[in-house]
């Protein structure tokens, strides 16, 4: 009886421990609310698109929510204003271009609202998010005075049916390099003045680039009013990359026909000197033979 009691205690203890471990894990693995983040982009004043990101908090960390259906609308949730329906990718991202069918609605107003509504599923209830932007654009100008190269960027916002300068907009100016953007000057960011203008000196001289052409990038990142404005322009301010092709050069590691001249000269000089000596010695042996034969003939012909 006592033994059964002990077994019961042990079983209860194990069950309790299992429950203790399982509950927090279950809680951890339960997704939290769906979080939708909308970002507006205008690329080179021509292509505007919306980037949607979905995530949720799991196990104390934000995790992307993949393959969740989203409907994105312009200005209001209505079938006629539907920009598109997408499913997020493995990173929880989805991208939508504003379609030509919404061109008249887009042109009609200086500011717009983007709305994203998720499709409810087993994990998440229907969730929505929105972002409001004012249409804006960046105009870029490059100048070279003497040897000083400068970049002037102007930001305009669409207001009262006209493009007006946008002051106090923070811009990043740089050139695109592998893996990111290299600022062209000492400042990390520049802020437009009352005329919506900013000028930066191009100090990164001698940057190597294919045919010397650099990609200049000016962008306003996650601006509260204008969203993301990106402007890229090719400029011939780099140094053309000259591919050094060592394959056809005379090196110690190249093919036998491309031995370095100095090595050939040294090796052949030494070989010629030594084998010249050996050849001379062989000639001397031949001379010895001739001398021996001559002496033999002389001795034979003596009376």
């Amino acid at each position: 009886m006592k033994r059964i009691k002990i077994i019961n205690y042990v079983c209860t203890l194990i069950a309790g421990l299992l429950l203790f471990c399982a509950v927090p894990r279950a809680q951890d693995s339960t997704p939290g609310d769906l979080n939708i983040n909308l970002r507006y982009f205008m690329f080179n004043n021509k292509i505007s698109y919306v980037l949607v990101n979905t995530k949720t908090k799991m196990a104390g960390k934000f995790q992307p929510v993949r393959k969740i259906g989203l409907s994105v609308y312009l200005d209001s949730v209505a079938g006629s204003n539907l920009i598109g329906k997408v499913n997020t990718d493995t990173n929880g991202n989805a991208q939508l271009l504003i379609p030509a069918s919404l061109r008249s609605a887009w042109d009609a107003s200086a500011s717009h609202k983007f709305l994203a509504v998720s499709v409810a599923n087993k994990q998440f209830a229907e969730t929505s998010a929105d972002i409001e932007i004012i249409k804006a654009k960046i105009v870029l100008d490059t100048t070279t005075v003497d040897t000083i190269k400068s970049i002037t960027a102007k930001v305009f916002e669409f207001k009262d049916n006209d493009w007006t300068p946008a002051p106090d907009v923070e811009l990043k100016i740089g050139v695109r390099r592998l893996g990111g953007m290299l600022p062209i000057g000492k400042e990390a960011t520049y802020t437009t003045d009352s005329t919506g203008e900013v000028t930066a000196e191009f100090t990164k001289l001698n940057l190597p680039a294919e045919k010397g052409i650099l990609t200049l990038v000016v962008n306003a990142e996650d601006n509260d009013k204008y969203g993301n404005l990106v402007y890229e322009q090719k400029i011939p301010w780099g140094v053309p990359i000259v591919q050094s092709d060592d394959w056809n050069k005379r090196t110690l590691y190249s093919t036998r026909f491309r031995s370095p001249i100095w090595l050939l000269f040294m090796a052949y000089s030494v070989m010629a000197a030594v084998w010249g000596v050996l050849l001379y010695l062989v000639m001397q042996i031949i001379k010895l033979r001739k001398l021996g034969k001559k002496v033999a003939v002389d001795n034979f012909s003596m009376p």
Binding site: T255, R256, L263, L281, Q284, L288, L291, G292
Partner: protein
């Protein structure tokens, strides 16, 4: 340098002359000689059979795998190359230094050099998985590769060594041809083929002497090249144990030592076998002993340089290699090689009693055996300690022990080198007869002058005047 003096051997009494010729004339093998030759031939045949197996089944019959791709074949190669340096030491350096006591040793040194360099070339072909492609080295070889330099310099050294044997041999060939009743028919033919043109005229002596002097001058830089280039095969490869700027000098000093050790052994054996006590005297051993001690100290100095400096720094990749050598699985062989090739011979030969023939012979054998082990230690342990650790490889890739085929081929090549020397001694005089007769004449001429108080340095002038 007058190597072959123009003294007419006829000046010394006929009986003395004939006695010297008789004593130094190549002799037929006795019972012991026949057993010795037969043993060497059997060892060579076993080696040839092992090589046949290697050709048939490939290098898989060896213990060499992906990591240890240079085993005892290359150790043997380095050993042969090292031992061949003796030709330039005894023949060239001592001749150019006008040292006359080494005359009876010159041909021993020269023939050791020729046979060693021949088998060095042979063993490198044995190491090739596809030996029929050896010709590709000449057809497609890259001059940038140290291996190509080695091929060129070994070929050159071989030719120089052959010439250095041949030119001083010419006056002796005349003697051999003159004693045709002592020779077999084919030997007479062979002697006539080699030296029937030698009449011993002043002009011939002059040409031959000049040729020998030129060869002695040429062989020294070429000998240094052969050993330096062989060391560069290792030193130009970035690996623990080989990445050293000391390697050229380290190899040359080691080669001088093992070559001199081999000459000491050969001196003792020929002295005993052919009763040459009158020609290879205790004084020769004494003087060779002093040279060997000097060379052993020199090699010890380079060894200290080679191991102390990296051991002091103990860079991580070197650490494993050095620890294996000093205290690991290679330690017994390492310390055996250090003791036998340097320490013990130095202790033996540092004292006059140790420079007598028998102790010298023992020291010489120790040097040669230790030197072979040292070459193995230079080649193999490094290959077992690559920079990138070995992973996911069969267990036998991590170790190296030669198979019986490798042992048979290596021993066969050593036996082959000894067989070449043995046949040479059977066919040609191992101590130059003409030079010995000439030196006998010098002694006769010098004695009255010396007793009159005239400096012995006048010997040369007197000989030339005559």
């Amino acid at each position: 340098v007058d190597t072959l003096t123009t003294i007419k051997p006829e000046k010394i009494s006929l009986s003395n002359r004939e006695r010297i010729i008789h004593e130094l004339y190549p002799q037929k093998f006795g019972r012991r000689g026949k057993i010795w030759t037969a043993t060497l031939i059997v060892l060579c045949l076993i080696g040839a059979f092992a090589y046949y197996r290697q050709l048939r089944y490939g290098l898989v019959v060896t213990g060499m795998r992906d990591y240890v791709s240079w085993g005892i074949y290359i150790s043997n190669f380095v050993f042969f190359v090292a031992i061949s340096l003796v030709g330039s030491l005894i023949t060239a350096v001592l001749r150019l230094a006008d040292v006359h006591w080494s005359t009876p040793l010159t041909r021993i040194a020269e023939i050791i050099a020729v046979s060693a360099i021949f088998f060095a070339s042979a063993i490198i072909i044995v190491d090739m998985g596809r030996p029929e492609r050896f010709v590709h080295l000449f057809m497609y070889g890259r001059l940038q590769s140290p291996i190509m330099w080695d091929v060129i310099v070994i070929g050159t050294y071989f030719i120089i060594s052959i010439l250095l044997v041949y030119l001083p041999l010419l006056p002796d060939l005349k003697i051999l041809i003159a004693h045709k009743e002592k020779n077999t028919r084919w030997l007479n033919k062979y002697y006539r083929f080699l030296g029937s043109f030698w009449r011993g005229t002043d002009q011939q002596f002059k040409i031959a002497n000049r040729g020998i002097t030129i060869l002695c001058i040429t062989i020294i830089p070429v000998a240094f090249c052969i050993h330096t280039v062989t060391s560069w095969l290792f030193a130009t490869t970035y690996r623990p144990g080989w990445d050293s700027t000391n390697f050229g000098a380290y190899f040359i000093s080691g080669a001088f030592l093992v070559g001199a050790g081999a000459v000491v052994v050969a001196m003792y054996v020929f002295r005993k076998a052919y009763n040459l006590e009158k020609y290879i005297t205790a004084e020769h051993f004494n003087k060779m002993g002093k040279i060997v001690v000097l060379l052993a100290l020199l090699y010890l100095y380079f060894n200290i340089n080679e191991f102390l400096v990296p051991a002091f720094k103990m860079k991580k990749p070197e650490e494993e290699h050095l620890t294996e050598l000093f205290a690991g699985k290679f330690a017994p062989l390492f310390w055996f090689a250090i003791l036998t090739s340097m320490i013990v011979p130095i202790i033996i030969m540092l004292f006059k009693a140790g420079r007598k023939p028998k102790p010298m012979f023992i020291a010489g054998v120790l040097i040669v055996v230790g030197a072979w082990c040292k070459r193995f230690l230079i080649v193999t342990p490094t290959l077992l300690h690559p920079f990138l650790p070995m992973s996911n490889v069969p267990d036998n890739y991590r170790h190296y022990f030669p198979t019986w085929e490798e042992w048979a081929i290596a021993i066969g090549s050593l036996a082959g080198a000894l067989l070449v020397i043995t046949f040479f001694v059977r066919i040609l005089p191992i101590i130059p007869i003409h030079e010995t007769i000439t030196e006998e004449q010098e002694t006769i001429d010098v004695q009255p002058i010396a007793t009159n108080g005239t400096a012995t340095n006048n010997i040369k002038e007197k000989i030339i005047a005559e």
